[in-house]
Symmetry: C2
Subunit: 589 residues, 2 copies
Amino acid sequence: MLLEQIKSPEDLKKINKNELSVLAEEIRNVLIKKISRCGGHLASNLGIVELTVALHYVFDSPKDKIIFDVSHQTYVHKMLTGRVAAFLYEEHYDDVSGYSNPEESEHDFFNIGHTSTSVSLACGLAKARDIIGTKEDVVAVIGDAALDGGEAFEGLNFAGELGSGLIVVVNDNDMSIPENHGTLCSHLSQLRGCNGKVENNYFESLGFEYYFVKDGHDIASIVEVFRKVKNTSRPVLVHCCTQKGKGYHFAEIDREKWHWAHQFDIATGRFISNVPAENYGAIAGDYLIKKMEDDPRVVVVAASTPLCIGFNAERRKLAGKQYVDVGIAEQHAVSMTAGIAKGGGKPVFATNCTFYQRAYDQIEQEMCITKCPATMIVTHAGVFGHTNNTHVGLYDIALLSNINNLIYLAPTNREEYVAMLDWSIAQENNPVAIRVPWNGVHHTNRQVSKSYCKTKYNIVMQGEQVAIVALGSFFQLGEEVVSLLNEKIGIEATLINPRFITGYDKALLDALKDKHKLTVTLEDGILVGGFGSKIAQYYSTSNMRVMNCGFSMDIPNSYKPEELLEKNRLTSNQIVEDIITVMRDIGEN
Amino acid sequence: MLLEQIKSPEDLKKINKNELSVLAEEIRNVLIKKISRCGGHLASNLGIVELTVALHYVFDSPKDKIIFDVSHQTYVHKMLTGRVAAFLYEEHYDDVSGYSNPEESEHDFFNIGHTSTSVSLACGLAKARDIIGTKEDVVAVIGDAALDGGEAFEGLNFAGELGSGLIVVVNDNDMSIPENHGTLCSHLSQLRGCNGKVENNYFESLGFEYYFVKDGHDIASIVEVFRKVKNTSRPVLVHCCTQKGKGYHFAEIDREKWHWAHQFDIATGRFISNVPAENYGAIAGDYLIKKMEDDPRVVVVAASTPLCIGFNAERRKLAGKQYVDVGIAEQHAVSMTAGIAKGGGKPVFATNCTFYQRAYDQIEQEMCITKCPATMIVTHAGVFGHTNNTHVGLYDIALLSNINNLIYLAPTNREEYVAMLDWSIAQENNPVAIRVPWNGVHHTNRQVSKSYCKTKYNIVMQGEQVAIVALGSFFQLGEEVVSLLNEKIGIEATLINPRFITGYDKALLDALKDKHKLTVTLEDGILVGGFGSKIAQYYSTSNMRVMNCGFSMDIPNSYKPEELLEKNRLTSNQIVEDIITVMRDIGEN
C-alpha cells in the first residue's frame, strides 16, 4: 500500500506521478472504511482527495502554509501529513480530531470549524511573511458554499491590497450542505459550463488572476496549474471543479445525506445508527409546515442548516416560497429575518447554536434595538449537541441572554417547545429566541403555559430549604437532584422550571427567601455570563446563598458528554454532594 | 424658503423640477449651520443632498421603503420626511437623533448605526412584500465603503434569489472614514473613470442590472434613472458618484477630518471644541509608532477607524507597511490579525468598542481557541464613549470577558495602559484585549505592574468591612466612593484595582473574607454577564455579600453620560447611600 509509506509530504513527492491515482484510490477506500465505522464528513472528503494530493505534491508544507476553510475536509490532508495511522488502524481512529488542529501537527495552523475565514487567515500569514521577509507560498482552500459567507468576500476584497502573493483554491463541488444558494453559485456554475470564461468574472473583478481546472479529480491537470502559480507575487485564484461524494456511489447520488455520515454499511449504504424517530428536528418541521399552511405570512429562513428544524428536501418543497435558504450567511439571515418581521411577515430563523456567534451584532442591533418580532430557533445547544470545541453549544446563553429586548426561552420538553413556538410566532412585540433542549425528547402531562409575555418561572414542586432552578435541557437533571436530595438527607427541595433565560421573576425569587437558604441553578452552558450568574447577582446583597452549576469555559478539542459532565461536577450525585457541603457550611455559620 | 414648506415627501413632489437645485442649496446651508452648532456627520450628509432629494421626488415613502445603510447620512432624509424643524430651529435641534429611528417617523424602519446591513434588511422587506402580495419598491442606499463589509456582499449575493424587485443605490463618494481600501473600491474607481463600463463588472457578476450616474449632484439625471428603475421586478443597482463634503470648502478638502465634525466656525472652518491635547488616541499612536521602529514585526491593523489609536494620516505614513487598514471589515480584520500572530508577527488590532460586536465569532474561534498572541485595543468603551444606543460602549465586557483563553485587561490610567500594551505585544501565549479608559486621561505615581501573565488584582488601599473593586474607567469613581464612605460613616474601605476583567485573583478574593462583609464592584458596562457578575458568582456560596454597580441594558436612543450615570445610581453619592443600606441590612441579620 502506497499510503502506508507516507509519513510526511516529502514521502508523497517521491511517488511516481503515474501512481498518484493509485494512491488516491487507496485514500478513498480508507476514508470510506473509517467513516463507516466512526461517522464523519464523508462526501466532502471524498471530493477533495485528488486536490489535496496535488497540493502536497506541489507545495512544501509546513514551510508553505495551506489553510483549509471550515476544515472538515482535512482528512486527506491529515493522512498526508504524518497522521495516516489514525485512518488506517482502528485502534488509532481517535488519535485525530475531525478538524484542523495545531496541537496535532505543524501542518495545521488554526483550529477551524466555522466557514469563510481561510482567505483572511491566509492574508494574515502572508502579511507576516512579508514583514519578516521570508518567501513561502500561502494557500487558502475554500469551498464554493463558503464563498457565500461575508468574511470570504472581505478576505478576497483585501487580498489585492497585500501587494504580494496569495493563492486561493476554490474547491467547487456545486453544493452547500443542502443545495447551493446565492447568485455567486450560479456564477460559478456558469463558469463551469464555459470552461472558466464568462463576461463578468467575479474573481477578476476583485483583482485576482484566475485559473480554471475543469476536472478536479485529474491530478495531473491540477498539479500543472499549481506549478504555474507556485511562488506567485500576486493574488491568484484556482477554480477547481470537483464532485462531492466522488467514488462512493450512494454519496454521489445523495450528497446532502452524506455530507456528514453516521456509521453505515458500506455495501448497502444504510446508516447503522439512525436518528431516533422522535427528534426535535422533525417536531419543528411538522409544526412549521402546518403553521405555514395556516398562515401565509410565516416564512422559515435557513442558513445552510435546514435539517436542524427538519427541513429536509420534502418539507422544503412543501414550504415553497415560505422557505428561504440564504446559504452560509448568518449575518444576512438575521438582518433579513428582521426585515421580514418589520415588513409584516412572521419569520422563523433557525440554525445550530454555534453559528449564532456569527450574527451577534445583527441580533443585538437590527433585530433587538428595533424590536423586530421574529423567532430564532437555537438547536444543538448544550453538552449533547456538537462535541468539539469549535462547534460546542455551551456559549449561547452568555452570548444571547445579555442582549436588551431579546426574550430567550428554554423549553424543557416537547409540549413546552411547541407552545413557545406558537406564542412566539403569534406575538408582535419582541424578538424571541428558543433554545431547543438537545438531551432527547421528553414529554410532560403537566399543563404548559401558552403565554410568555411576562417573565414567570414555574414552581413544579414546592419544598423548602433548597430551591433547584433547573433550566431547559437540565430540567430532568433537576428532577434527579431533587429526588436524590430527599433520599440522601431528607430535604424536600423546591423544583423550579424557569422557562426564561432572560429577565427575572422577581416576585418568585423574593418569595423563595422565606423558606429557602440555598438556591441552586443548573444550566447546560458555561457558568460565566450565564443564567446562574444572573440569579447569583440578583441575590448577592441578600442572605440567600446561591450555587451555580454549569460548565467551565475550557472545552476540550473533542469530548464525550458524560465525561465533560463529570469533569464539571454535573452528575446528580456530584451536585447533591456539593449541595450537602454548602448546606453544612450554612448551618455552621 | 422652499424647505420650510416641506412637511412630507408629498410636498417635495409639488416643487417644480427646476427649483430642486435651489432646495438643495437651502438644505446644504441648513446642514452646515446646524452641525456647526451641534456637531454631527457633516461631509457624508453634504454629499448625499441631491441623491436624497431625488429619492423622495421619485419614490413614495413610506409606502416605498428606503433603507439607509449606517444611517449617519439620513439628515437630509429627515428634513424631507416631516422633521425639518429639528434642523431649522435651534430650540428643536435635539428633537431628532443622528441615525434612522422608527420612534421618530414612519419613514424610518430600523435603528441602524453599524454598516453593511441595508441590502439584507431590504431583502427582508422585499420578501415580506412578496408573500403579503403588495407592490411597493424597496430601496437600499449604501455607501462605497460599506460595500467592504461582508454582510453587504451576503445581501447582494442573495438578492438574485428573491426572484423579484429590489433597488440598491450605491452612493459612491470615493471615501471610507479615512481613505478607501479593498479591491472593490479600486473597481468602483475604475467604473467611475470609464462611465460605468468595464470588462468584469462586480455587480453584474452578482446578477444585478447596473445603472451608472456620473454626476450624483445633478438631480435631473438621478431622477431620470430612478424613474427608469421604479417598479422593477428584479434586482437593479444604481451606481451614483457623489462628492463627500460637497458644497463646504473645508470639508471638500479634508474629508476625513470632516466626516464627523465637532462644533465649528463656518467662516474659518476651525473647530471650536478641540480634542484635548492629551488623549488616549495620541498616547497609543505615539507609543505604537515608537514600537514599530524598534520591532519590524509590529503591525497595526485598522478597520476604517484608525483615529481611535491616533493613526492620523501622518502616523499612517510613518508606519508604512507596518500599518494595514482593511476597510469596514472587522471579521476579516480579526482573522487576519490572528494570521499575522500565527505567522510570527506582532499584530495590534484596534477599533471602537461597539464594532467588536461584528467579530465575536472570529475572536472566539480563530483568535482564542487557537490562542494567537495578538493585541486588541478596545476604544470608546464605557458611558463616556459614543452616547447613542447603536454605538454605546457598554456591552463589551459581557461580550468579551466570557471567551476562553482571552485575557481582557482594564487599565485605570495612562501609565498602566502603556505597561499593558508593552506586555501584551511582547508576550507570545495569549490573545489580549485592552479596554482603554475613556473617561479622560488620568495619571498615577504608583508603580504599575509590568507583567499580566497571572490574574492579580492590586490592593491600592487596605481597609476593612467594605471592599471596593473599581474596574478600569470606574477606578476614579472608586476612589471617590472610598473617600465619601469614610466621610459619611467612618468606614475605611479597601480599594482594589482589579486590572483583569477575565479570570479571578482567587487568593485575594478569599483573603478578603477575613475582614470584609461586603464587596462592591464598580464597572463601566452592563451588569448582566459583566465583571461584577463573576465576583457575585465567586462569592455566591459564601458569607460575603456582593453589590454590583453598573448599567442596566436599556440604553436610550441618545443620552447624556451624567444622566445615565444618575439613572443607574452610579454617582458616588448614590453608591455610598446604597452601600449604607446594605451594611445596615447585614448588621441586622
